[in-house]
Assembly symmetry: D2
């Protein structure tokens, strides 16, 4: 089959002819119908420090997709051939302390699709049956292909107390934009979206931001304080991974408020423990992945309730063969979600 | 001044000439501009068992109002003459364990305006400065007069985890209707409102219910289960105080879900501890009054955000002199909130 | 093999010759080394209303035991022949909403060992590998045989905020007694244990109660209020299932406090919703079973830390052949835990 | 009266003759009977960066004490002359959002005794009546004088879920040592205390640590992981303010665990947001001061329950005149709490 892989330990991505994956116990084979590009894919493409430390080439990459089950192992009971599914991309061991206490998304031996095992920028991909989630009734495959990153936002937003609070969101990439829509839906009294890219700030408005701030040209921290009687935001979601935004996130939250950290910076960040954590009695929580499968039940119900529209989030559609072009577009920041068809 | 009082221990209400209240330390005198009728006033009017046990006539009743401060004690620092205010009607002692741990709304020596001390169905009413809340900018006095009961709904709704949940609300009186609007605003995926009165069910639709059920003609418990894949509602708000509704509330919640009890039944209720509490691992919480003053900050911010419209809730306007007619209307159930002007 | 079963729909228990259970996918066969008697077994023995509605004879009963794995299905990966194990007695489906969101102990299709499937009052019992928990290092088999009910207490006690609180426990059966030891260990400032049986109140003292009250001869509610400055207990654990104790539990808790309901009454109970739930803003939570497997990790760590001694809890040891005598002893209340050896 | 003050903006402390404080509305005058030294006093003594930015000389310093009320303003209702009291040292405005929502310890206009207003290293000190807490029955004045810092530990420890968890505490100063005793009392399965000073590690053992580690000679992070099956501690309390300890605190906590930050570092700290917060889904919370007055109710009840002994914490007693010697002792680290008598 055709696939895109990191073949050698260097920047770039290559189309290869790969063997179709062979399924084992409790696994299913899925024919990829739509796939989408994640920032993680771009890190691997660029071959940054994180990628160099984590990826063992050759590796087929990609982990966001929707497709049809075409083969199942003999012991599979929860999936059928012909069914459309999406994938939870985190493959948990099922046996560690975290897995056995309802927290398999922080499994002690976690593997990630397209990172630690071969991924979905290919005609076929195999996943454990446990990781297959049926495409919810009425949800188009294109939308289904971005449920995995949308689930990041669901997990992050529902970890905080949104209703009746002023919310500030740093970073308007696809997960940040999803968080804008989710906080707007969840009764935030104001949703202030912050980024340095005007294209993305426009998208934030479309997704429901009550105000957008370009932090290149304005002092975002000061503006949020001005808008909240000098008190600061009740909830701050850091979805950018940018060092300056992380520092600003702590300065933006009010005494006793909540900071959710989701965006991953490329290196260590210097923080003011006294002013940012202690004197404020800030509640800070890191968020990763999606709760298995509480987040998936939630996101399915949200889509089916029609309380939120993900369509504006998908800004570009291409054939998978143009993956390199998609990567460059991600690098520019002038896009929402890019979906690709093999 | 003119006032309405329970003069003798018997049903009914009487207009009287009363002395204008004399303020003491930390108190302010307010000229009542708009007042509204609560179910509690109706219990006192009808002189039911609860009223007989609690009220010591003569007592000027009424506790929901907006008005203008016309006099302040010498030591008052937080209110000025000329300011428009509404009142938190629960007068806390400020010195007990509950008051000193942030829970003055469940003060061990709580007194209620219009119940334990003279109330606001009068030209003037006195309150502690601590209980005066400035009418939020841009909120009309009429709306301000119903912030106290709206606050009940804010406290009840924000005690549960609404966003991303299916919510069922039993009872569509003014507090139940406010809860409909608040859960709708707060990202409930569905809001099912249940009552036996068609007039109120229509109002529930206007306030944002996604579905209404008349429990006289339909099996509400069965319908909610049908609508939630047989699982039950994630959150149930019991705002009616009706015995059957209370029992149904427990049957409606799903395993691990939350039941908020706000409506006060007139007598004891027989409950199935095993099926309704234990096997379900239900989280049940009683709610009374409003958090002082977290609830007031929240409700003010909600009104100012324009995310919710309270106007449809006020269905009748009358001069205070027609209080008895208002009482009868409350008894019929064919009303939302009735506001009265002295 | 020899086993004890409810053979006909009537009171009593019979020794039978049964076929050794045949294991299927993901199951293991365990040779029972020690077993213990639960109140549930006694309900089945007596054939009360609950038992009549739930049990389909013939049924081998019993669900608390420790034993050695003697056979495993081909696909079993987490257990080995020769290993000593105890069993989580709740068999969850693994596929429903509750199971997939970390709450398999309130699975929508729960089956219970010795109730819905054949149990452990026998020489051999089969269980899913998922339900087998290795006997913790250093824990004798006898103690291991009572970890399942001890887990009930762990789940109940850790659901409340014990440290720095006054705690009242109604009911001093084995689970109530375990709760006494756990709350004592967890920093309760006082642990008041209430029962009607002097034998059990003595055991409560041994397990760490700071005070015991015989509610036949004293007004328990009044005493707790006297001991807590008239405020009531911060946490009340209802472990008896007795109707009067349940009512008293609500009267004993202070405003804003927590009531944990664990004991299952035989019929409906009349409660004062206004005074017991609403005006108090009580937090009430039903508790059933054990969290899979958070509770098991906790109980194992507790035993291994030696912060708590379960030995006084085991008051009687008999051969399994004397099961009927054990049942009568349970009925008398003059025992802690009775362990039986096949 | 005699007092100790920072007279000029430079290192050191001076004895002065000061006017006895004049009380105003809602204030009381207290004759200081016992006072104790806090790390904050030492920062002011040494005149470090924080002190230079915050203190406006001349300022009488000191904020931990017990004494007798000798005068009260006319409007004081909660204190009487002759009563022994200790002080909550944080003076809140009572009118801001935080104060009116039960969080006056993070008041937006907080003033601290001995920092922003004159303190207690003197014969007399004045405080708002609101800040006076009666010395609990049976508690000696000497112990009473250290309730304020003990309250820090109560607030920090009760913010986390201790019972059934492995706890690691960085920093064995008086607050860290109190936290050792409190976590031991609250059902921690293990309490590992870490410091670089052997004197303090010995005290930690006396206060209930199950293990102590000198981080100068051992790799504390590695040891805790070894002791917890490689998983890390469920709760980590950072009470040192040391940069290396703060970094280690994040490395020590297990996935999904809790880090409480209390110790205040002198400058910014570089943190690994990805590994320490996000991939772990750590819950991080800053803690400052004491909840008013939940913490005080708790600490009073703890002392009266005799579940914890604070006596080993007081290692030195001196006349106040030797304050400079006490300061040097604090600087050496070779002490627990030093109490001084004027």
């Amino acid at each position: 089959m055709k696939a895109f892989a990191k073949v050698r330990p260097e920047p770039g991505i290559q189309q290869i002819d790969a063997e179709r994956p062979r399924i084992r116990q409790h696994e299913v084979l899925v024919e990829v119908k739509v796939t989408s590009v994640c920032g993680t894919d771009y890190h691997i493409y660029k071959w940054d420090e994180w990628a160099q430390a984590r990826i063992k080439p050759p590796r087929v990459i990609g982990h966001e997709f929707a497709g049809e089950v075409v083969e199942t192992a003999a012991d599979v009971t929860s999936c059928k051939v012909g069914e459309d599914v999406v994938a939870e991309s985190h493959i948990a061991c099922g046996k560690c302390y975290q897995c056995r206490t309802g927290n398999s998304h922080i499994c002690e031996r976690l593997a990630i699709l397209g990172v630690d095992v071969d991924g979905c920028f290919a005609e076929y991909v195999k996943i454990p049956e446990h990781n297959a989630w049926p495409v919810p009734n009425g949800v188009p495959l294109e939308t289904a292909s971005i449920l995995e990153p949308f689930g990041n936002a669901v997990h992050a937003v529902f970890a905080a107390d949104i209703a009746g609070n002023d919310v500030t969101i740093f970073g308007c990439g696809p997960v940040g934009l999803s968080a804008v829509a989710l906080t707007h839906m969840s009764g935030a009294l104001s949703v202030t979206a912050i980024d340095v890219n005007e294209y993305r700030l426009k998208l934030a408005e479309q997704m429901g931001a009550s105000k957008t701030i370009n932090s290149k040209s304005s002092d975002a921290v000061a503006e949020v304080h001005k808008d909240t009687d000098g008190r600061g935001a009740g909830v701050v979601l850091e979805m950018s991974g940018n060092e300056h935004a992380i520092k600003d996130a702590f300065r933006t939250v009010r005494n006793g408020g909540t900071v959710i950290l989701f965006g991953i910076p490329s290196k260590e960040v210097q923080l003011n423990i006294a002013d940012d954590f202690i004197f404020k009695e800030a509640h800070v929580r890191g968020i990763v992945g999606r709760e298995m499968f509480n987040t998936w039940y939630k996101l399915q119900a949200i889509l089916q309730s029609s309380k939120l529209d993900l369509k504006p989030l998908i800004t570009h559609r291409m054939p998978l063969i143009q993956l390199e072009e998609a990567m460059k577009l991600v690098g520019s920041g002038n896009c929402g979600k890019i979906v690709l068809t093999p």
